[in-house]
């Protein structure tokens, strides 16, 4: 094992990168643009107004009570309540998009209540119905005789970690750090190594005294270096919140996501880099099974997308169906996501057994693929 030959391979990769502006853009600009867009979409999307069409028996106070409750309650969206003559009209309004929700109250006092929504926006419906139920409780309470002494309960929401008004961006941001590094490093190494195999340079390398291990480690170092820079840029972007004031016609905006991390950035960095090293060697390994660059791209839905779905990014692992649990347990992204969240959101440090496990598994996976990758280089002498 010669350090100078490992460095020569790494240096070759860096020199190739330097002349390839498009790839540099892919590595540094694209993740920021995507993270920025996601940040905007998640954080600054507006909850639409909710128009409620209420059908109630003649003389029922429920519509008025709901209207008053909506005015008093502190909701994320504007609620307007309309009395509608009959059930058919209420349904028509929902169908024609003139109302988001129709409430059909059967009896004068109590009885079954039917809620009708348009149905093509299940998650929006769920949020609106949740808010409606709270409104309903409030409305019904105001209708009760005051002498009963029942008041509208007030909820105070507190959280152990983060703050109660944290949004999904705060929970997703840590994950982007790892996932982007994984994705880009995998694609770049896969294609780069495929070129070595197809372009004859790998064969030429094997006519020099370089060992297979030196080639694989050199690749890890070269691409690991860029993955490292990428992770640093992304960590900076995620944690930073630089307010830019309005200048002339350009409105004020913020650079960075301003996600507050309570853990050590160094530990975040370590987790992301270990994950990326695994990706380098997975890329080398899988390039064996590709003949063209297009075939490397074809590994994205096989390797990258399932990790995005099952790695705990959007849905916690323990809520996955039983049959998928063992699959999730072997994906490197799973451990990176867990580690990154532990550190950023819960402030875990190296003494946390969970972070230790994540680091150990990621290092193990990286080593496993180093061995596997060097095995795929066909050579008569080691």
């Amino acid at each position: 094992m010669s350090a100078s030959r490992i460095l020569a391979v790494a240096r070759r990769i860096a020199q190739g990168f330097r002349r390839d502006e498009r790839t540099l853009g892919l590595v540094f600009v694209v993740p920021i643009v995507i993270t920025l867009l996601l940040g905007w979409v998640i954080r600054d999307s507006e909850a639409g107004d909710v128009r409620i069409a209420v059908v109630a028996a003649e003389g029922s106070p429920i519509a008025d009570a709901l209207r008053t409750a909506a005015e008093d309650a502190d909701l994320a969206f504007e609620v307007t309540v309309d009395d509608v003559a009959d059930e058919a009209e209420a349904r028509d309004r929902v169908r024609d998009g003139e109302a988001e929700v129709a409430i059909i109250v059967a009896g004068l006092r109590g009885g079954p209540i039917t809620v009708v929504t348009e149905g093509t926006d299940p998650s929006g419906d769920a949020a609106r119905i949740g808010a409606l139920q709270a409104l309903m409780v409030r409305a019904v309470t105001t209708l009760l005789p005051p002498e009963l002494g029942i008041a509208v309960p007030e909820f105070e929401h507190e959280t152990v970690f983060l703050s109660a008004d944290a949004d999904s961006l705060d929970v997703l941001a840590p994950v982007f750090l790892g996932y982007f590094a994984y994705f880009f490093v995998f694609i770049l190494t896969g294609i780069s190594f495929l070129r070595e195999r197809v372009g004859g340079t790998l064969e030429r390398l094997l006519a020099t005294p370089v060992t297979r291990g030196e080639i694989v480690l050199g690749y890890g170092l070269g691409f690991g270096f860029f993955a490292t820079l990428q992770v640093l840029v992304l960590i900076g972007f995620t944690l930073m919140a630089l307010e830019v004031p309005a200048i002339g016609p350009i409105p004020a905006f913020t650079i960075g996501l301003g996600v507050s991390s309570i853990g050590s950035p160094a530990l975040l960095f370590l987790l992301a880099v270990l994950l990326a090293l695994g990706a380098v060697n997975l890329g080398i390994f899988l390039s064996t099974f590709a003949r063209t660059e297009l075939q490397v791209i074809q590994f994205i839905p096989v390797v990258i997308v399932p990790q995005g779905l099952l790695g705990g990014i959007f849905w916690p692992i323990d809520r996955l169906p039983d049959i998928l649990q063992p699959v999730a347990q072997v994906l490197p992204v799973t451990y990176a996501v867990d580690g990154l969240r532990e550190v950023m959101l819960r402030g875990a440090d190296l003494s946390s057994p969970s972070v230790q496990l994540d680091l150990a598994v990621l290092a193990g996976i990286a080593l496993f693929f180093v061995a596997l990758a060097s095995r795929t280089i066909k050579r008569e002498v080691a």
């Binding site: 240096r11 372009g199 030429r204 006519a207 060992t211 008569e380």
Partner: protein, 251 residues
Amino acid sequence: MHPSGSGAAVEAVDLHKVFGPIHAVDGIDLALRPGRIYGLLGPNGSGKTTLIRLLAGLARPTAGEARVLGTRMPSRPMLARIGYMPQAEALYPELSVAENLGFFARLEGTVSRAAMDRALELVELGERRATPAMHLSGGMRRRLSLACTLVHEPPVLFLDEPTVGVDPALRVQFWSHFRRLAGAGTTILVASHVMDEADRCDELVFVRSGKVIAQGTSAELRSGAGTTDLEAAFLHYAGLDAEGRPLETAP
């Protein structure tokens, strides 16, 4: 110097290489002496490249033995003392001339700036140091590939069609450099299917269908075949008539 005792720098003993049904190298014996240039001549598909790959330790023989400087191939440490130029130039297109050369030099263990400069001057790419390989002409890439092969100044050179696409003036320079290297003791095996280069070699090896059909100096081979034309001599040893058809009268 050469523990095998035979005095040969490169040896093949009953060398065989079989790929499935194809017998690419079919029992070749060779002994190449130091300081000489050998021409490996034969049509496409005659086994020249496979033979070179076996001798250079890039492939393992199915049977028999290949030795370089007395060491049985494949041997990784011996690779630092071999220069191998493949048929297709193996360069990194986005790297500059100097970066490509520097990369291979470092892998071979040579970081001497003087050695790199010498190699670049030889192939007349000194002015093109900073040009990315993808912007070079085909002939220039061929020259750069040769520079990468020579940069560590190995005592044994295997060159697989080194002058394809190189213009005649530079080809003459290549050959005079090969001659200088041979004079300094380097053993050179040049594969070619261009007969007009053969006269520049000290000795020729004719191969056909994985077998050596004749070996000797150009003059010996021509007079043995009773012809002044090397191409005709090759056909003679291959048992073919002037149109390339098998001779009907068996001896």
